[in-house]
Amino acid sequence: MWKAAQRFTKKPVKFGAVTAELVGFAVQDKHYKNPVDRIFAIADAFNEEYHELADAGCPVIQIEEPQIHLLAARGVTDPVINPKLMLEIFNPHREGAARQDRGLGAFVLGQSVPAAHVRAGAELQGGARSVQRGGRRRGDVRIVELARHGPRGDRQVDHRQEDRNRGDRSSHACRSSSPRRSRSRSAPR
């Protein structure tokens, strides 16, 4: 699929990828019986696939990992499923990717804040130009984290943060679960 896309342009085409825990947490399991073993097995398979993709010439592989940020933002303190485990799971995905001869960039994307977005955009531009020139840079594996999250402790998690700037406009939700939210006159039916 990446080769099919790359044939259409001279500019570098990235490949968007997923991390193992997003798959591992979403599937039913009749084999492993242990979510950690299941997820690490999938991560190993993904790592080999990403190496093959890089060997085929793919210049940029984007590995999205929202789970790290979601768990950190919500202050999840589960002894097994926690941000520390998410980082341990993420590392096998990019294992071996930081080689001098690879123009491989791995990006960890999370919830963005304006300043971080600009910085990340600048880094991305630089990486793109380097890839276009066929150049190689030290530390070609770039981990760009667009948010600074930490444990929220006992703070109430605001599930409506995406509606913060909506004003009086109703959200896309059909029905609000919060008694504080009022319906707008323009609410879609």
Binding site: W2, F8, K11, L22, V27, H31, S177
Partner: protein, 115 residues
Amino acid sequence: MTRKFREQYEDALTCYIRDQEIAGLDILTDGDCRFDDDVGGQSWAAYPPMHMAGFEHDNPRPTPVGRGGVAFPRGHILHDYMESRVMPTVIGRSAAAICNTPRCGRRRSASPRSR
């Protein structure tokens, strides 16, 4: 993406890639427009296990909400998204590599590091 959807995939790519070039983007993407028999249900999370060994592809099952420590309240769009996911079940000892590379069509044996 199976071979029978290659024409649609390339047609979509023609539009996506050209629009991104016109917009001036430096690194382009196919937008994850990977067609398959289940167009509405395929996504960047569902596509890999549906093309890996060790999964039961013919009988995808709904995903219980709250898995992985993440859940959203009813009415939240991500609650609806997570409720609607159907994913294949793990039935094998280890998952072989997915078919996204030029060697598509030849599934390798399980990774020596697989658990």
